[in-house]
């Protein structure tokens, strides 16, 4: 397809704008949809499948429990825990077998941050070899679900 002014003048621009507006109208709305329908399923089945990393600190557990309690209140669902080690739980999350992973600590440069979505850091810890932070982790692309969890994590962080 070549682009010449005679063929694609102002008419082409107005058509393009028209298509763009139609596209926007089709997609307008406040919240995105989850490609795999995570949030809808959680609201319908009232179950959140949570992978819990074993051996985490009590302080971290207190932090993520506060966030999870807010998510429970917001969705009307209860968590069903699957205990395990961090990486196998993240693989299950990536495969859609879990909705969240809690209790995991991550380095700022963790390679996992492209494969899964790390929520805002809820507790940072300085160690002699670097900084790690506790994150609630969600599956990539489940944007409505991620927005809800991140909103509640932020709100929990502001609680006294």
């Amino acid at each position: 397809m070549s682009w010449t002014q005679s063929k694609r003048g102002p008419i082409a621009l107005s058509m393009k704008t028209h298509h763009l507006m139609l596209l926007c109208l089709a997609g307008c709305g406040n919240m995105p949809k989850d490609p795999e329908g995570t949030l809808d399923r959680i609201r319908q089945e009232h179950v959140i499948r949570v992978g819990r990393v074993e051996g985490g600190s009590a302080a971290d557990a207190s932090d993520w429990r506060r966030v999870l309690a807010r998510v429970e209140a917001s969705t009307g669902a209860k968590p069903v825990f699957q205990p395990g080690m961090l990486e196998p739980l993240l693989l299950d999350l990536e495969a859609g077998k879990l909705d969240l992973v809690v209790g995991g600590r991550f380095d700022e440069k963790t390679p996992w941050k492209t494969r899964v979505t790390l929520g805002p850091p809820i507790a940072k810890a300085e160690t002699p070899i670097g900084t790690t932070a506790s994150h609630i982790v969600a599956r990539n692309g489940e944007n409505a679900w991620i927005m809800l969890v991140q909103r509640e994590a932020k709100a929990a962080g502001k609680e006294p």
Partner: protein, 300 residues
């Protein structure tokens, strides 16, 4: 030419503003990242045009006795290569996103205490990234045709690639909003095929120019119309001679093999068919007299 140079300076400034805006809104989206890389690459054609325009004006010297008239040809190859690289990169990238079933995470940002889906910020940035190249492309096309400058023309095509990618990007973000994770990769893939097609076409014309092929049209690999008309005129005036036309930058050089100049001096404008205002296209005419060793001269 001065107007084209001014336009290219403006083009660089506006493109940098697009790069800044897109960079700020990109987040972790692969589509936005690809569009951002594309915006960065689109700086190459105007930069190459400006450099070549400057070098082209240099006078001939002992090391470059033929001057620098061919610099635009070199610039054209670079610009065409950039366009081809752009199309290939986008195609590979979108294919990989599709094959690996990448689900883009586009969450929320907080602006003035209000939660806004980052997708809408991306759409706003993409709209800006569309408006700028559409305006620049429209300004550049008539100039490219007037100057018969292929680098400028390729640059205008790169602008087209940019706004088309912007539209694909918006489609992709809206697709994410609707829960279709594959929408952006598919849209970007289709657009990249078109960009690649433009790039390959420009590269073929640029290669033809480098190997002294007959002058090509601005927007295709076909022989330029004015070159065909010139060939016909020279053929009629020098029957039996071979007419070799080639393009050096923006101008055509004609070599007439097997004929001698009709007069001691000649005005190349006399040979230009059509619009006299475009007679500058015919840079010079050279003659290769008939060779007696080849039997070109009757009686030998």
């Amino acid at each position: 030419m001065r107007r084209a140079e001014r336009l290219e300076w403006w083009s660089i400034a506006w493109t940098i503003s697009v790069i800044v805006v897109m960079g700020a809104a990109m987040g972790s989206s692969q589509t936005m990242k690809t569009a951002w890389i594309e915006d960065c690459l689109s700086l190459i054609p105007p930069a190459v045009f400006l450099i070549s325009a400057r070098v082209e004006r240099r006078p001939a010297n002992a090391r470059f006795p033929n001057g620098f008239a061919r610099v635009p040809s070199l610039a054209f190859v670079i610009a065409a290569t950039a366009l081809t690289a752009l199309g290939s990169t986008l195609l590979v990238d979108s294919a990989m996103s599709l094959v690996s079933q990448e689900h883009a995470t586009v969450a929320a940002v907080h602006i003035f205490g209000k939660e806004i889906w980052l997708g809408w910020i991306m759409v706003a940035a993409q709209v800006y990234s569309i408006v700028v190249p559409v305006v620049l492309g429209w300004l550049k096309l008539p100039l490219a045709k007037q100057l018969n400058d292929k680098t400028l023309f390729t640059d205008a095509m790169t602008q087209k690639a940019n706004w088309m990618t912007g539209i694909a990007g918006i489609g992709g973000v809206i697709g994410i909003r609707l829960g279709y994770w594959w929408a952006d990769a598919v849209a970007a893939g289709l657009i990249s095929l078109d960009i690649l097609n433009d790039g390959i076409r420009a590269l073929r014309a640029a290669s033809a120019e480098l190997v002294d092929g007959a002058p090509r049209a601005l927007d295709s690999d076909d022989i330029a119309e004015d070159a065909s008309a010139l060939h016909a005129v020279l053929d009629a005036r020098f029957p039996g001679a071979e007419i070799h036309l080639r393009e050096t930058g923006r101008v055509i050089s004609a070599q007439i093999v097997g004929a001698t100049p009709p007069d001691d001096t000649l005005d190349v404008r006399d040979y230009w068919p059509g619009d006299p205002d475009r007679a500058w296209r015919l840079g010079h005419i050279s003659f290769v007299p008939p060779r007696s060793d080849r039997g070109d001269v009757p009686g030998n």
